[in-house]
Amino acid sequence: MDFTVFAQQIANGLVNGMAYVLIATGLTLVFGVLRIVNFAHGEFYMLGAYITYFVGTLFGLDYIAAAAISAVVVAGLGVAANKLIFWPLRRDHEFTILLSSLGLALLIANGGELLFGADPKYVESPFADEVLDIGTVTLTQQRVLVFAAAVVALIAVYLFIRYSRFGKMMRATAQNPDGAALTGINIGLVHTYTFALACGLAALSGALVGPTVMIFPTIGNWAVLKGFIVVIMGGLGSVTGALFAGLLLGVIESLGGGYISLGFMEAIGYAMIIAVLLWRPNGLFSTARGLR
């Protein structure tokens, strides 16, 4: 077996996996804290990529600035979505909220096609084509950036949830929303900030992954699917679970595609999640309630 190729496939898998982790973290936060299954999460990823593109081309800003602005704008859009849909429905049945998020997802995806046009676009980034040789492995700077930025973001999120005051509020709400409200925590504010954080993360991953492929309005579909596979595999509400599951999915997809069959690469991810769910229905790092 050619070790160079093997190492390369693993590296590819880790980078892809880290992108999945970034998408999944926001998703699992929203579920863990608010118990909302948000099918529209992938659309914020798509918006992140597109807004980075537009800010870059219309205002001429450089990539990093555009990405940062995009994250902030999309975080705001997430807050708006919460205000319009999820907060008013918070007392409704889980099923209703799930369906409304599905409707929102379709709305944003098709609205995006209407607004942005069907032609594929490319998010320019100075890191996209520059190649780095790390030992025998070849990666573009952009892919290394995805990995590094994701790691930084995850550490930041982890520290935030663990040590900051607001993080504690989030964890309290995750464990027991009514109890948390009784202690004076403003649940509405928790909703707002959680969505802002989750959608901001989604947008960031869109901005980071964007330059590695072409973007078009249906990429949100792909993102939310990967996100859900990772989240459910890792356990709803578990950030550590998402990290582990995401990297695992990325590597197994890469190796499976590279050594077994390329055509079935997608199916491998699904087969994996089926296997995991049958063995441990609540995910690998299943949590009772609460955020981990």
């Binding site: 069907a118 032609d119 190649v131 595609g257 690469m265």
Partner: protein, 377 residues
């Protein structure tokens, strides 16, 4: 004396003569249905085809329309790239909107089911579909513009063998009938001139990332990689990612898929890459320049092969109507004319076989400094 009856009769007589005036002043337009993917995957390509057709219709109408002073009216229908919607659209066009002729068949699956709906009922011009069965099992009013895979590969393989001359080659093909056919054709033709085929990878129409496959291909160490990709966004991603894996060999683009958007999206990764196309902007056809002008005036996109196919379709139908004396419903006359005469189009003169298959001239092209130029010896 001039009672109500008389006035009524006079009014009626006057009303009856009005259409006669109208007929001389304005003939009803020739209504052509353009059925293509306007949403979903392929929406971009569908839009290009529509633009090309509309630009050509504008050019023809500006010159007075077809025989009898009738203008061309294009009605757009969205087939969403699916056979079911294609069938629905064709039925609606024929029975509800009463169109005279149909342009469609951008995707093979749609073409195959649509031809059954139009069988022997209405003149149908299929555009970009390359599936052999479209004309093999066509009907007397069916015509198909795009060259078949076989025709393109015959021409292009010669160029690859004689001009590009790689010692070995590997294929990156899309997993559908066209991609598989390409692999078979070129494997035969290229090994025939001594090029070693080192391997291939198939990718799906819905894939967005190709690094796994390209890593595998790179490890084969072939002199050249041949990319068979129709979808512009997938193609651009593949070309970029080939470079990003650090591959230093030659890249060969498949025939018939080069377009300005692809070049724009691929950055520098298409420089010096060859392809083959029936369409070049510096072609010699007389109708090309006015069409290019109109297209550039009306649309933001750069003119492309797909757009030219749309234009060709309109030109073919206009020629047929002219040859039939101006009646767009004289299907037998139109079909006979198209199968017996050379049709002048933006891509040169077209000749249709008995089965309605067009023979297109094909040119070798290369991307130089982000422009698609034709390569002449």
């Amino acid at each position: 004396m001039f009672g109500r009856r008389t006035l009524l009769a006079a009014a009626a007589a006057l009303a009856l003569t009005l259409p006669a005036f109208g007929a001389q002043a304005q003939q009803p337009p020739v209504r052509i249905a353009l059925i293509g993917p306007m949403s979903g995957t392929g929406a971009f390509e569908g839009q290009l085809g529509l633009e090309g057709a509309q630009a050509m219709a504008a050019v023809i109408n500006a010159k007075g329309g077809v025989a009898g002073g009738r203008k061309i009216e294009l009605l757009t229908y969205d087939d969403k790239g699916s056979p079911e919607d294609g069938v629905s659209a064709a039925k609606r066009a024929m029975e509800q909107d009463n169109v005279d002729m149909i342009i469609g068949g951008w995707f093979s699956a749609v073409a195959l089911s649509m031809k059954e709906v139009t069988r022997d009922k209405i003149i149908t011009v299929m555009t970009s579909s390359q599936h052999p069965k479209v004309t093999e099992e066509g009907h007397k009013y069916l015509f198909r513009l795009n060259a078949t895979s076989a025709m393109m590969s015959e021409f292009y393989s010669k160029a690859i063998c004689e001009r590009i001359k790689p010692k070995s080659i590997a294929f990156m093909n899309v997993n559908d009938d066209w991609g598989r056919l390409e692999l078979d054709n070129y494997t035969k033709l290229l090994t025939g001139c001594g090029i070693e085929v080192k391997g291939h990878e198939f990718y799906n129409r819905t894939d967005t990332d190709f690094t796994t496959a390209l890593t595998k291909l790179k490890s084969l160490n072939a002199d050249a990689i041949y990319v068979a990709a129709i979808n512009t966004s997938q193609g651009a991603t593949i070309y970029r990612q080939i470079k990003q894996t650090g591959y230093r060999g030659k890249v060969i683009a498949s025939a018939g898929n080069m377009n300005p958007k692809l070049v724009e999206l691929s950055g520098n990764s298409l420089e010096q890459v060859y392809s083959a196309s029936p369409f070049t902007e510096d072609g010699a056809a007389p109708s090309l320049k006015p069409w290019l002008e109109q297209y550039r005036k009306d649309y933001k996109n750069d003119p492309s092969f797909i757009a030219a196919l749309g234009a060709q379709a309109v030109q073919t139908l206009a020629f047929g109507v002219d040859a039939a004396g101006g009646d767009p419903r004289a299907y037998d006359k139109i079909a006979a004319a198209l199968k017996s005469q050379a049709v002048p189009t933006v891509m040169g003169e077209l000749r249709f076989s008995d089965k309605g298959q067009a023979s297109q001239a094909i040119h070798l092209v290369q991307v130089q400094k982000k422009q698609i130029v034709s390569v002449r010896d």
